[in-house]
């Protein structure tokens, strides 16, 4: 017998949800086949889908931006808006965020829990790239950026924010009310800096930039040179 032909074509399921339609593609077969099956399913009911808002669940498939962008465009040809891509794959989630799409079907209630400090450390999101205008990173734990944060970009963290680079966008640490959160950067020149409910703007820089750490002291956001103590 020859190589078995993959008869397990990806299956596509469609159901209505509060925010429009949820289309689920299972994990069988290559993405190209899944995409084809999906477009076929939609093409057979093109009128039904015209103008629809669709969220897509791709299971564990890791999707690249080019693949997701292409699918969004192909769906656009049917008059469909792809607003969210749900996946267990971190790669796919990142791709969806970079294309400005949601990765969850509904906004989760803000997590009130503070992750208990443990010797093993706390949960943090590492972002190794330049954050340009219009990009937004939101994470319940800490956020660490290796790269610059340009004006117009925004970071919201439940915990601390560390920028190994120049911070010129908006940074909000301790977003769920933690006043002990800090913001550190090699060059701390944010458009606006928030810690918990307190807001501050950076004074114009004088002289050479040096690493600084901002924290709340006596109810005020203050930035102090980083001296490693």
């Amino acid at each position: 017998m020859e190589k078995p032909v993959s008869s397990s074509r990806p299956k596509v399921a469609i159901k209505g949800i509060r925010d429009g339609l949820l289309v689920t593609v299972d994990d069988a077969g290559a993405w190209e086949d899944a995409q084809e099956a999906l477009l076929e399913a939609i093409g057979s009911q093109a009128e039904f889908f015209q103008g629809a808002r669709v969220a897509l669940d791709v299971g564990t498939r890791p999707l690249k931006a080019a693949q997701m962008g292409k699918l969004r465009d192909l769906l656009g040809d049917f008059g469909i808006t792809l607003w969210a891509v749900v996946s267990e794959s971190p790669k796919t989630q990142e791709t969806a965020r970079s294309l400005g799409m949601a990765t969850r079907l509904s906004r989760p209630a803000p997590a009130p829990r503070r992750p208990a400090p443990s010797p093993a450390g706390e949960e943090a999101l590492l972002v190794h790239r330049t954050l340009r205008s219009g990009m937004r990173i939101a994470f319940p734990g800490h956020v660490v950026v290796i790269g610059n944060v340009h004006p117009g970009a925004e970071i919201v963290a439940g915990g601390n924010i560390v920028v190994w680079g120049r911070l010129r966008g908006v940074a909000h640490a301790g977003a769920d009310g933690n006043e002990s959160a800090v913001v550190c950067a090699l060059d701390l020149s944010p458009t606006q800096l928030r810690i918990a409910g307190r807001v501050a703007t950076a004074p114009p820089r004088r002289g050479r930039p040096a690493p600084e750490m901002a924290s709340v002291k006596d109810g005020q956001v203050v930035a102090e040179p980083w001296d490693g103590k």
Partner: protein, 266 residues
Amino acid sequence: MPGTVLTITSGKGGVGKTTATANIAAALASRGEKVVCLDADIGLRNLDLVLGLENRIVYDLVDVVEGRCRLRQAMIRDKRLPNLFLIPAAQTRDKTAVSPTDMVQLCNELRQDYDWVLIDSPAGIERGFRNAIAPADQVLVVTNPEVSAVRDADRIIGLIEAEEKGPARLLLNRLNPALVREGNMLDAEDVLELLAIDLLGVVPEDESVVVSANRGTPVALDANSRAGLAFRNIARRLLGEDVPLMPLEDSGGLLQRLGRLFGKGD
């Protein structure tokens, strides 16, 4: 060898995308390259005006995509440069008349016969931008030395990266040397520091650009224009030549330069 698709975009409107497209196309064509310009700004077409070809439009991009004419029929040959062509945008439709998939197919066809396909992108970050960016091999971001234009350029560079079309290169347009010298305008270094991408060229502010655009004659064909020289240099860099950035102003006589040195101004 298939040609290169170069998309010229900006985010903000009015920074000189169309002028840059027309002039880079003319400069490439005058060096013997086969060039076709595609106006992707459906509903607000301008490239035909800047190239002085408006009165020869019969068919447009949307006619090609919707199958009302063959690709050849929509291509207008430039009157000065026999290897420069324009595919105009439709004026009576909007951006949704064309999809990114259509653009990819169209450019794959054009790529076979032309060395360069230059796409003039509309302003904005919506459908028109995605149409223009979908087929791109290279992307050129045009900005002016103004904070608002630079901020929008930063946004668009991020979107280009997200579409995996990067790294984009930068064209800094309308730099005013006198204002930079007085410290009242961002200079090329400031802008590059903000955007952190490679610079393809700097075009100085030059009245002859406006005059020639109104006449429908690209300034790149004017041997005496400094902006024209800047666009010709950009075309040479696209062709892989190593051309240094030109000095931004006529250096003037020795006395004048000395005067400047001693802070007398001129």
